[in-house]
Symmetry: C3
Subunit: 273 residues, 3 copies
């Protein structure tokens, strides 16, 4: 199944409209190309409707919010909904500021989302309608572990039902649920947390996967998570003496560029609950 999801992306070359932060935007563009998609970025309110119309999906990331780009998010999202394009929300830093939390909650309310992808703190914030996050990283106290896995799975399933879309919570253990089923994914390396933007990159990839696999969205979202984690493992295995997080960033994107459907199928480590 994951093999097919990957291959659909490479075959269809889905064009993804990204309204994203200026910190990690270059990596998001390169990783979209690496996975077989094609990126376009635009956040100006007067530009976004035209741009999203020529695309297949929309990736909204609130990492460096501007008042002006918020309007662009709403306008692009409504147009994408009208055209029935999948819309993904990455609520970066929800819980860390009122503006971010309110914007994420407002977008959830106003738009029909296909997926939400964030860390556990951000997702808890959205679930609670408020909260606290330590910067853009998940609260360690909130991490999904073997010990609290059952509760975490129930929480994510519940929130996916509430939100009416796929919810992906990423961390040491990743959870991807549509409300009834939940993928529990163990790919990845802890060192990925020392690279800025691996979450943003995953959101870009996941949007491309959702576009190219309209009939298997849960599997597609899970495949995107496995792909990112597996690329993190492959990239790490290629690290040489003296290399650090900057080279690791390149090696992960390189691994995504070279990933085949067979390798993803074989390397994905997950169970379905």
């Amino acid at each position: 199944m994951m093999k097919e999801c990957l291959e659909q992306v490479r075959t269809q070359v889905p064009l993804v409209h990204n309204i994203t932060n200026y910190v990690t935007v270059n990596d998001v563009a390169n990783v979209l190309l690496a996975c077989g998609g094609s990126p376009i970025m635009s956040d100006e309110a007067e530009d976004v409707e035209d741009i999203t119309s020529v695309c297949g999906g929309l990736n909204i990331n609130i990492g460096t919010l501007h008042k002006t780009s918020i309007e662009g998010m709403y306008r692009a999202g409504r147009k994408a909904n009208e055209l029935d394009h999948p819309v993904l929300l990455d609520p970066v830093g929800a819980g860390a500021s009122r503006l971010r939390t309110e914007t994420a909650l407002g977008l959830m309310k106003e738009l029909r989302l296909a997926a939400i992808r964030g860390n556990i703190s951000e997702i808890k914030t959205l679930s609670a309608g408020s909260g606290t996050t330590r910067g853009v990283d998940a609260d360690v106290a909130d991490a999904v572990t073997e010990e609290n896995l059952d509760a975490a799975v129930e929480f994510v399933k519940g929130f996916a039902r509430e939100a009416g879309c796929i919810v992906a919570v990423t961390g040491a253990i990743d959870l991807v649920s549509d409300g009834s089923r939940c993928y529990v994914i163990c790919n990845g390396r802890p060192e990925m947390g020392k690279i800025t933007g691996t979450g943003c990159q995953l959101s870009g990839i996941m949007t491309a996967y959702l576009v190219a696999n309209p009939d298997n969205r849960l599997e597609a979202a899970a495949a995107a998570v496995c792909l990112m984690g597996l690329a993190g493992e492959i990239g790490w295995s290629r690290m040489q003496e003296g290399e650090g997080n900057s080279t690791y960033r390149n090696r992960i994107i390189d691994a995504i560029y070279n990933m085949t459907g067979e390798e993803l199928e074989k390397g994905a480590r997950y169970e379905l609950r």
Copy 2:
């Protein structure tokens, strides 16, 4: 000739003012340093006139347009014209949205451009005064090929005459014309299309080449195109097992950093029509 163009850049270290998109801006800055120039970025309307005054040329790229940066483009462009600095326009995504098309056409009308650099779809859009583009990549149907080369050369020559400036259309085959002569350039690798921003990078380099070679602008523009393509070839030849588009991006900039005039002269593959 290309050797001299490259060496002039390395000797003069032209300072280039870039109003460019936030996706590829870091690569544009690094590639300007790699080729021997020096970059400065500023798009705030109240800042750009001062900044462009201390520079030698202006590179305008409409990749992530904001209403506020559009005003900056006009103000910087007028000041650069007043100071007789070369101004280059990179109409990223012209044809994909009304705002981009109108902004590119407006800048063409209002400013005295030294050069326009884009893919064939974008250039056709400007030529037609309207059009359709698939995202930021050229329409495959529009690609310049051996089959339609004669017609493409005539089209580019004609548009360069109309626009009153050098026009560079880049793709598998690159065309660079001032309206009477046209360089047909075959350097490059198809894999360069899997890196975000090679076009934006080329526009930055080309601006530096125009600044440093005021008496040979057509040759300078062609030399910049050959440099980028040749660097793509050299970078590709250094790729190792497991590497992909992220490392390739680094290797291309590295190749530009190390390029000598002799290597460019020897490696440039073109004919003049």
Copy 3:
């Protein structure tokens, strides 16, 4: 002492709020992670007070100023002052435009800064209350050299007293003073000037060092400068045939990622005047 400064950062993982330019922001984020800190970026006026409140320090960089982000700088700065968080100012391009010069001077006047870090032209501009800078690079005529070192040390000490904070002037020789003492630092490589943003990166690191070493701020600022320079030396020693400024950028961040307190202590080359 430098060893302790580095280890405090790795132990405390200081969260740094960055209001910085969109050119080098990704490298600033990755280098903050590499040195042991954690980055968050936000420049929207309505977002910055909340964000800076969850952080330990604030790094203000005026590299690509927008009218809207200037308000964010003031609001974040006042809040950080209220919370007694260290605030660093990087006056990129001060002297190159009226807006940049006035903004830098205005921030100096309005905020209680812990440190200012810039090249000699920028610092002279702030000292004079006006000036001229060649783009974002220091005027060669103004470079700190063995010949003018005594005068330069006196100048930096004097400006640090005037400004009431630590002043770091970086170049071939780096000077870091609190007004009474001055570190004269000789780490680094000239090739670092061919990478965009090594100064911006250093400002990010220095902010993290200031946060984590509240009782030894001068030493912490000097340790950050030595770290960056030493990483430039280590990164350069690992360069291979055919590599250039793009790979060098990665190797420097990698070297910071791998740096231990012992290596920094041993590799730091400085004298205290």
